[in-house]
């Protein structure tokens, strides 16, 4: 799975680019000292080379600190795993458009070759450059207690180190173009964001863990003795409990009035015996003495074939939801027929009154069919108009219509229709019908 990920943090990018600038600058001034060309003047380049050397040293100290504090140093531990694959990718695979043999993640930013080369720079080339640089600067003078006899050796090593670093820079800059696109590597080092592979299993675990933590459903876990081991924030809120410390370690009986306890005891016993409870309305006792109603799920916690306890979620049933329940039953049991269509005009729900008006025996016979089945061929256009009007956002409060029943007979009814919106999108149409077949035309 690929995902745009924040892979290089601010300090990392600051360090990388400043180090790059300093290395370029040190090479530029250093090779003038070496006598390769004359541009800024010897005195100037010596001074600037020294200043840049100090700056690099400060930067390196910060970078070492950063690597250890963040644990990023582990990224550089060398590995031979996929080493051959990586080498053969650069030699042959890349030309055939083969995929990268290793996958970049934030926990494994570098391929095995990168690990080896970067580690070599960090523990070998740069320390040698710093050490020889310091000897170059300070230890050639015989007054120092530690000194070297001449610059010969340190100067030659220092110069050769510079050549090696330059060769590295050339290869390094080129290899940044072997990412998803030629510039994606450099862009990532500037912005910090790169499209990289994400470990799906890990990602899913994170998501689930996150879901439990952040869920509006309360989560709980008990051990075999019925002692509460963990709850989430939603649970605490439902129980009006101020802190987790007040509940962790207590027996579940603490969460019920005496009269409701037997029910829970029964449930716990069943679950510890392996049963799974998918939904059960129960009454809780909150910490402030009030009580509330919620729906509860429970499943056993099993590890290595042993039941260690149980866990589950609770969903609060609030007053407003009680009202919804009431309305639900109203619609279900109403003498008026209820229907619901999706955005294509397919019937997705009707109530029993509707079925009775249309002389259907069961919902299954009609759900999934197009609304055109409910009209005689001559009247379909009219319903089509109604449907289009409502889908464009209008509500129809009352309209006489002639229905075609299952057996081909017809009946008259008054129809209401309103759009069903989710967010700002109209996803269907619903409404009620009241039968008027028994009324004569005059009374209408």
């Amino acid at each position: 799975m690929k995902r745009k990920t924040y892979i290089y943090r601010g300090f990392e990018r600051f360090w990388h680019w400043n180090q790059a600038l300093l290395i370029f600058f040190l090479a530029f001034t250093g090779f003038e000292i070496h006598g390769s060309y004359k541009i800024l003047g010897f005195e100037n380049v010596v001074r600037w080379h020294n200043i840049a050397a100090w700056a690099l040293l400060v930067l390196i100290v910060f970078a070492i600190f950063w690597h250890f504090v963040t644990g990023e140093w582990k990224q550089y531990i060398p590995t031979t795993k996929f080493m051959k694959a990586q080498i053969s990718y650069y030699i042959t695979g890349i030309f055939k458009g083969a995929p990268h043999p290793t996958h970049k993640t934030i926990y494994n930013k570098f391929n095995p070759l990168q690990r080896l080369i970067y580690l070599g720079l960090k523990i070998f080339v740069i320390p040698i450059q710093v050490t020889t640089g310091f000897f170059y600067l300070f230890y050639v003078y015989p007054d120092n207690p530690i000194h070297i006899v001449g610059l010969n050796v340190v100067a030659i090593i220092h110069t050769f180190g510079a050549f090696v670093l330059m060769a590295f820079v050339i290869a390094h800059v080129y290899l940044t173009t072997t990412g998803h696109t030629p510039l994606s590597g450099i862009k990532a080092m500037i912005t910090g964001w790169e499209v990289i592979d994400v470990d799906e299993k890990e990602e899913r675990q994170n998501n689930l863990m996150n879901a439990v933590n952040e869920s509006a459903a309360g989560y709980y876990r008990l051990n075999k003795e019925g002692i509460i081991e963990d709850v989430n924030d939603a649970w605490l809120e439902m129980y009006s409990c101020k802190s987790r410390d007040e509940i962790i370690g207590k027996h579940y009986s603490y969460t019920r009035d005496k009269k409701n306890l037997a029910e829970l005891d029964n449930l716990v016993t069943r679950v510890l015996n392996g049963e799974v409870i998918t939904g059960m309305p129960v009454m809780r006792r909150c910490f402030d003495g009030s009580s509330g109603k919620h729906l509860l799920s429970a499943n056993p916690v099993i590890e290595e074939n042993t039941v260690l306890g149980l866990e589950g979620f609770i969903l609060d049933i609030k007053e407003s939801e009680k009202l919804s329940e009431h309305m639900y039953f109203t619609v279900r049991n109403s003498g008026a027929g209820y229907y619901r269509l999706d955005e294509k005009g397919v019937i997705i729900d009707v109530n029993s009154a509707w079925l009775e008006f249309y002389k259907y025996n069961s919902k299954d016979e009609i759900v999934g069919k197009h609304f055109s089945i409910t009209r005689k061929p001559d009247d379909i256009d009219e319903l089509e108009n109604t449907f289009n009007t409502v889908m464009s956002g209008d509500t129809i409060t009352g309209k006489i219509a002639t229905r075609r029943c299952k057996d081909g007979t017809v009946g008259k009814h008054i129809l209401s229709a309103n759009p069903i919106t989710i967010g700002n999108k109209t996803v269907g149409m619903e409404g009620f019908i009241i039968d008027i077949s028994k009324l004569d035309d005059k009374s209408i």
């Binding site: 601010g10 990018r13 600051f14 680019w17 400043n18 600038l21 000292i33 070496h34 006598g35 004359k38 003047g41 010897f42 005195e43 010596v46 001074r47 600037w48 020294n50 200043i51 700056a55 650069y90 890349i94 030309f95 055939k96 458009g97 003078y141 015989p142 007054d143 006899v149 001449g150 610059l151 010969n152 100067a155 030659i156 110069t159 050769f160 510079a162 050549f163 090696v164 330059m166 060769a167 050339i170 290869a171 080129y174 173009t177 500037i190 912005t191 910090g192």
Partner: protein, 535 residues
């Protein structure tokens, strides 16, 4: 709206990163430029510098100096009447003794001086004393019988005369003339001893210069860095003695106590003591730039601050005695001169090379020197180094100094393989000047020096190193880094150390360049293959 905000945030993030990277660079650059300007305008810092104070005594009021003097020794006697311990100070000085104590490699302490050291100018003093000793601070050193213990032989006036009228006769064994006399085209008149004795004072440039400017028999012949023009020199020639500069006298640096004048010239001196140094006033770290101050561990001040010598009058670089003795058909002496009036050939002396504005050569020097001492064997196949300045890169005390290298070709005994001191001067039948017979001159000269002579002579190349200490240039004219830190720089002859900018390992440099070229080649080939395969 949401996406606009996000891109703004992203932009601000990048701006912060960019600023964080660039800001330190700007701060450092500005700081460096601001400090650099302050450093550039700073004054020369001095320590311990004090001009000699003049004791206000009017010698013209002393009755002793108003007597009639017939002989300069009477003047000396008068001086010593009051300055009655000064003779002992004088007699301990090298100006009087013309020797210094020297411990040889074998551990013997010997007296080393003009009597047993030779040079490649007029070679040696034995048998030539009356001429050479006209620069001795005494009277009557006409041969080896001269009494160094007779205090009346001291010449006080040559150093202390302030009238400018006291002159010793060039061939008078240290005496002025008693009657008006010509020497070459110069006329010498008897000095007015009363006037001179009543107008004495501390030595001025003219006093020291009477001998030291004229070493080798003419102006600036020997030293190259001190010459008659120093009496009236300007800032662009010598910042210290300049009449439009520091107006300094010789003794402002060559500090003197009890008539011991500090300073060694290693054409004749051997030991690292009693020296004058720039550091005595300028300290060992006179620069604002610490890298330049580090240089003073290994580089003498003179090396950078005397970029050239013989800036006014020419100095002699080479003296070839082997061509001497040619006469015109009529028997007269041959004289050839260059466009500047410098003699390039003279029958009495041979051929010369003169130079102006000479770039010094550079050597390591630790303050000690070795000399060819009369009687030492020479290797006929090699150039004889009459003096050798000791030191090397690995010698902690050694620093690089500028020198004038004077080369010569002079007479030696081809059988005994020793250098010959010829009898040059004298009104006799053996002196080379007048008879032009090397054999006779060698025989008499060597006998006078107490050395053997086989009767066979030849000419051998010799070399002398003269440290350059004067004609210090102004700061702007001192050497720049790349005078040495470059290939073919001034220090090219000193190869016993690694000099950045000059030295490199050709092998590793080639490997490095190949490495970089191969990296580029690899990148290009790889990139080309990728592009081709993509199509």
């Amino acid at each position: 709206m949401l996406t606009v905000k996000k891109s703004q945030q992203k932009f601000i993030g990048l701006l912060v990163l960019f600023t964080a990277i660039i800001l330190p660079w700007i701060v450092v650059v500005l700081y460096e430029y601001s400090t650099q300007q302050v450093g550039g305008n700073s004054e020369v810092m001095l320590v311990n510098f004090k001009k000699d104070t003049v004791i206000n005594v009017d010698h013209s009021k002393f009755w002793l100096l108003q007597q009639e003097f017939n002989d300069p020794r009477e003047v000396t006697k008068a001086c010593l009447t009051c300055h009655n311990k000064i003779d002992r100070e004088i007699m301990m000085s090298s100006h009087w003794k013309w020797t210094r104590k020297y411990v040889t490699e074998q551990g013997d302490t010997i007296e080393l001086g003009k009597k047993n050291i030779i040079n490649n100018f007029c070679i040696g003093i034995s048998s030539n004393e009356p001429l050479c000793t006209s620069c001795h601070i005494g009277y009557g050193w006409k041969d080896s019988s001269f009494d160094h213990n007779d205090k009346n032989n001291i010449d006080c006036l040559v150093c202390h005369d302030q009238t400018g009228t006291y002159k010793k006769f060039p061939a008078g064994a240290g005496f002025p003339v008693t009657k008006t006399k010509k020497f070459g085209n110069k006329t010498f008149t008897p000095p007015d001893y009363n006037l001179i004795a009543q107008n004495i004072g501390k030595p001025q440039k003219e006093n020291c210069g009477a001998c030291h400017f004229n070493g080798g028999g003419g102006n600036n012949v020997k030293h190259g860095d001190i010459a008659r023009e120093m009496n009236q020199v300007t800032h662009d020639i010598d910042v210290h003695m300049a009449i439009d500069g520091a107006k300094m006298n010789c003794t402002d640096c060559h500090k003197t106590e009890h008539h011991n004048i500090t300073g060694n010239l290693y054409s004749i001196a051997s030991v690292d003591d009693n020296r004058v140094s720039c550091e005595q006033c300028h300290t060992g770290s006179p620069h604002t730039n610490s890298i330049l101050n580090q240089h003073t561990d290994k580089i003498a001040c003179q090396t950078c601050h005397i970029p050239e010598y013989a800036k006014v009058s020419s100095t002699k670089m080479s003296w070839d005695w082997s061509t001497a003795g040619k006469l015109n058909n009529d028997g007269s002496l041959i004289t050839e001169k260059d466009s500047l009036g410098n003699m390039t050939y003279f029958t009495k002396k041979g051929s010369f090379v003169w130079k102006n504005n000479v770039e010094p050569e550079y050597v390591w020097f630790n303050g000690n020197a070795k000399h060819y001492v009369t009687g030492d064997k020479v290797d006929p196949g090699k150039v004889v180094k009459l003096n050798t300045l000791l030191g090397s890169y690995s010698d902690k005390k050694a620093k690089i100094i500028p020198i004038k290298k004077h080369v010569g070709k002079q007479i030696y005994d081809t059988e005994n393989n020793i250098m010959i001191i010829p009898h040059l001067f004298g009104k006799d039948s053996t002196a080379y000047w007048g008879n032009y017979d090397w054999d006779k001159a060698a025989r008499v000269g060597m006998a006078s020096a107490g050395l053997p002579y086989s009767g066979n002579y030849g000419f051998i190349s010799t070399e002398m190193s003269w440290p350059i200490n004067h004609m210090v240039a102004s700061r702007n004219e001192s050497l720049k880094c790349t005078d040495c830190h470059t290939s073919n720089g001034r220090l090219n002859s000193l190869t016993d150390f690694y000099l950045p900018g000059r030295d490199k390992s050709n092998f590793l440099d080639s490997v490095g360049i190949i490495l970089i070229l191969m990296s580029f080649a690899g990148v290009f080939v790889h990139a080309a293959l990728r592009i081709i395969n993509r199509k």
